[in-house]
């Protein structure tokens, strides 16, 4: 059995300095690597601003969308008001009916997978799961997911990296037209009816909220699900431990999300010339908050490359930290918890048939992040 220890590509850089001077899109980026340093910078929006449309994601996204994303690409105090508008939808995953729907969904997907000789987890499991679960969050009919399921792992880019952002904007624009004509109690109708500083949202602001709800919740969930499945395939004893102690599901979820850290890093713009732990950043240039590196910092996580399902405390920052911490976190956590629970209930794990890892190849590092393709056979109980 392959043990496939996670390889932390930032280890040696982080051991030397908490920040790595690197580059993206032909521009310098001061990438912060240390846990304490990332966490602190994430909370300091005056020095490290999110008021930088298209540049919070790295590489930058002008080529795949035409509008600023809300609330991620604005600073407080404006951020606080935009975030409040959408927050009620993101809080739903703690409601009993929502939890039950998620349980039914995972039960159906796992029972279906058990019927097959093999299943390709990314396309045949994670994408349908992500798409159908998102209909619960946005409060739209589950049939809407039929279309979303046809999209790739990234909503904006096809497998070759080409932009298909315009299609996505046309689609969300049509959802707002529909909501304006006939408002219901879905996410899009709420935005149509929302007020910001006493005025309705502009269509561009609505589009920016919708765009983030689709993009922020897509590859993150898909990559987490495939990584968790691969972990279980390679560690059949994990399900036994979880069955023996069902409470372990909660800590295991946090640990598997730390281990996956599906968002490697995100950008911030320095409004002023700034010294970032010895690296000079000119006004207008970027730093990055490397969540993945922070989550493997041994000063905070003992044996960071080992998955400890009972790790506690586990102050990982896979969901970010500070004002922008992930709104989708309750939904994401529920998906992982329910996945583990249902795998325990219905399977004896799975056999890994083939795996093709996805690798982020950048100027100064290569990071394996989830899978292009992961074929397994589920084992019934």
């Amino acid at each position: 059995m392959s043990n496939c220890p996670y390889h932390d590509p930032f280890k040696s850089a982080r051991e030397q300095k908490p920040v790595l001077a690197t580059e993206f899109d032909g521009d310098p980026v001061a990438m912060i690597l240390g846990f304490k340093e990332v966490r602190k910078a994430a909370r300091d929006y005056t020095t490290f601003s999110s008021d930088a449309p298209f540049r919070v994601p790295i590489p930058r996204e002008e080529d795949v969308r035409s509008m600023r994303q809300y609330p991620i690409e604005v600073d407080p105090p404006a951020h606080t008001e935009y975030r409040k508008i959408v927050e009620p939808f993101f809080r739903q995953p703690t409601q009993p009916e929502y939890i039950e729907r998620m349980e039914n969904l995972l039960e159906e997907l796992i029972l279906d997978a058990l019927e097959r000789d093999s299943i390709e987890i990314v396309r045949e499991f994670a994408i349908p799961l992500q798409s159908r679960a998102l209909t619960y969050l946005l409060n739209v009919p589950e049939s809407e997911a039929d279309l979303w399921t046809t999209w790739g792992t990234h909503v904006f880019r096809d497998e070759s990296g080409k932009s298909k952002g315009a299609e996505m904007e046309t689609y969300t624009n049509s959802l707002f037209d529909r909501a304006e004509a006939n408002p219901g109690d879905d996410f899009f109708s709420a935005l149509v009816q929302a007020r910001y500083q006493g005025r309705p949202l502009t269509r561009e602001e609505m589009q920016g909220c919708a765009n983030l709800a689709f993009a922020g919740g897509r590859d993150t969930i898909i990559n987490t699900v495939s990584t968790v499945m691969a972990y279980i395939a390679e560690h059949p004893e994990a399900l036994d431990a979880l069955r023996e102690n069902p409470k372990l599901v909660m800590t295991a979820t946090e640990e598997l999300i730390r281990y996956t850290s599906p968002v490697t890093h995100l950008g911030r713009m320095c409004p002023m010339d700034t010294d970032v732990h010895g690296v000079k950043v000119d006004a207008g240039k970027l730093i990055s908050l490397n969540w993945a590196s922070a989550n493997f910092d041994p000063t905070m996580f003992e044996e960071p490359e080992t998955v400890r399902l009972d790790r506690k405390p586990n102050p990982h920052i896979a969901f970010g930290n500070g004002a922008h911490n992930c709104l989708g976190a309750p939904h994401a956590r529920l998906i992982v918890r329910t996945l583990l629970k249902k795998l325990c209930q219905h399977t004896n794990g799975m056999t890994l048939l083939s795996a093709q890892r996805k690798v982020e190849k950048e100027a100064d590092y290569e990071r394996a992040n989830a899978y292009h393709e992961l074929k397994v056979q589920l084992i019934s109980k």
Binding site: R39, T94, E254, P313, N314, H316, R333
Partner: protein, 105 residues
């Protein structure tokens, strides 16, 4: 015997729960106490359940253990009254307890 707990939120309003059971975080989230999210479900991972215990209750409620303290050490706005309330199991002796929701840092 029912156990009464009062949460005071950031805007100064009170949420009074007459028959609290479970952890303080569970009680708070079940009653929609503003500022207590309990995102990680109570396993010392998210710090979205930070409260300050009224001084006169400190002895009864007790202090954070090492794991909880490690999490609190990362927060900015902590003091000796700070607790992560997912780590506080409600018991009868807490009848009348008052806690303040800490500012989101």
């Amino acid at each position: 015997m029912p156990t009464k707990i009062t949460f005071i939120t950031q805007d100064g309003s009170k949420v009074v729960v007459e028959d609290a059971i479970g952890t303080l975080m569970e009680v708070a989230t079940e009653h929609d106490v503003e500022g207590i999210d309990g995102d990680c479900g109570g396993v010392c991972s998210c710090s979205t359940c930070h409260v300050k215990v009224k001084r006169e209750w400190l002895d009864k409620v007790g202090v954070a253990d090492e794991i909880e303290q490690d999490m609190l050490d990362l927060e900015d706005e902590t003091d000796e009254r700070s607790r992560l309330c997912c780590q506080i199991e409600v018991v009868e002796e807490f009848d009348g307890l008052i806690v303040e929701v800490a500012p989101l840092s």
